[in-house]
């Protein structure tokens, strides 16, 4: 783990620096001007959120199939990363929206509202994990949650096509761009900068995942030790104050 991290972490840092350089040297958008630069953070964040939750889905299925806590640790770690990237996408979206749309937020927009819902649901996933002390029960219930919760991701992604929204439609994940056709709705240099940033964000994700899964493993080992030694968990000794003696002061 340590060795993987010592390679991944510097790669991620270099990736982010290169990504920033590409973003800043890409052509300035003819319509939105400098504000469009937010895209190079916003779009990779949103994609990494999807990827994180997809990894949680796969690892959750993996746990239910193999009953190995390793899968559970991957699912949990990836969900945490997904919540982080969703939060980043929401924040950068608001920062981008204020100057360009003229508003931070709009409750009538399906993409915005469904993304907020996705954020809350996966916070719920993390809350569920903290509420169950027994590792296998926790892993089983979280796995079910991790599988069911994934149904929203296509809903979030296709919301801009299914509903009439303030948020614009997909630029990259559409046939013209994916096939490299001449009428792709994005300048090739901007697309290149976006792809470099996507790669950089993926490296950041991979770094944090390796570190988080490692920490999760240490946590599980500690939990097991505590279970063996039958140590009471912190706070167990706290009981209600006893006022039988009366209030003397």
């Amino acid at each position: 783990m340590k060795k993987t991290l010592s390679i991944l972490a510097p790669l991620a840092v270099v990736g982010v620096v290169i990504g920033f350089t590409f973003a800043m040297t890409a052509p300035i958008d003819a319509y939105q001007g400098i504000f469009q630069k937010t895209m190079y953070v916003h779009v990779p964040s949103a994609w990494l959120a999807y990827i994180s939750f997809a990894v949680t889905l796969i690892a959750s299925i993996g746990y239910l199939a193999k009953k190995d806590l390793r899968w559970d640790r991957i699912a949990a770690s990836s969900a945490e990363m997904g919540v982080f990237f969703t939060g980043l996408a929401l924040m950068t979206g608001m920062i981008w929206g204020r100057p360009v749309w003229g508003t931070f937020w709009d409750w009538g927009d399906a993409r915005l509202v469904l993304t907020a819902l996705m954020f809350i649901v996966y916070l719920g996933y993390l809350a569920l994990r903290r509420s169950i002390a027994e590792p296998t029960t926790r892993a089983r219930r979280s796995a079910v949650f991790g599988i069911v919760a994934f149904v929203q991701i296509p809903l979030v992604h296709f919301s801009v096509s299914w509903w009439r929204t303030l948020h614009q439609q997909a630029t990259v994940l559409r046939p013209e761009t994916l096939t490299g056709a001449a009428d792709a709705p994005i300048d090739p240099l901007m697309l290149r900068a976006l792809m470099v940033n996507l790669l950089a964000f993926t490296l950041v994700y991979a770094t944090f995942m390796v570190a988080r899964v490692w920490i999760a493993k240490l946590e599980d080992e500690r939990e097991e030790r505590h279970a063996l030694e039958n140590i009471e968990i912190a706070g167990a000794a706290i009981s209600a104050p006893d006022f039988d003696g009366g209030f003397d002061d």
């Binding site: 939105q32 819902l117 809350i120 630029t171």
Partner: protein, 139 residues
């Protein structure tokens, strides 16, 4: 069993949140805005003062700033509606921009107090002739 006291409220809160988002808010606004053609068709459903959102493209050359008020026309290529907007429009509000205004019919024109600029999914640099990308125009 103490964790049940946590799970049950959590699940309840999530369900309420889903219900609120899905039925309370999204359904009401399932159509985020009406196009000018739809707005004219449904004129009877929206009497003067009944608020709704109207979206389309700003007609080239129609913008007139008049003190606190901006007058312009919004079009979907088929129908054009005169808009009187009270307030300062966002920076990117210009000829040919996509715009969503919130307000109500007032006789033959639309009076708005919320103006949002919508942009499309196109990202272009300045082209070889030095001409910036022009979004589609509504006129």
């Amino acid at each position: 069993m103490s964790h049940r006291w946590f799970i049950i409220p959590s699940v309840a809160i999530i369900l309420v949140a889903i219900g609120f988002f899905a039925w309370g808010n999204l359904n009401k606004n399932l159509v985020y805005y009406l196009t000018p053609t739809e707005a004219v068709e449904k004129r009877a459903d929206f009497p003067d003062g009944e608020r709704f959102k109207l979206g389309g493209l700003v007609v080239d050359g129609s913008i007139q700033e008049d003190g606190q008020v901006v007058r312009f026309q919004i079009s979907d290529g088929q129908t054009t509606i005169d808009v009187v907007h009270e307030g300062t429009p966002p920076q990117l509000f210009k000829d040919g921009a996509g715009a969503v205004v919130e307000g109500a019919w007032q006789g033959d024109h639309f009076e708005s107090d919320v103006l949002i600029v919508r942009h499309d999914e196109q990202y272009r640099g300045v082209d070889e002739e030095g001409q910036p990308y022009e979004p589609p125009t509504g006129s």
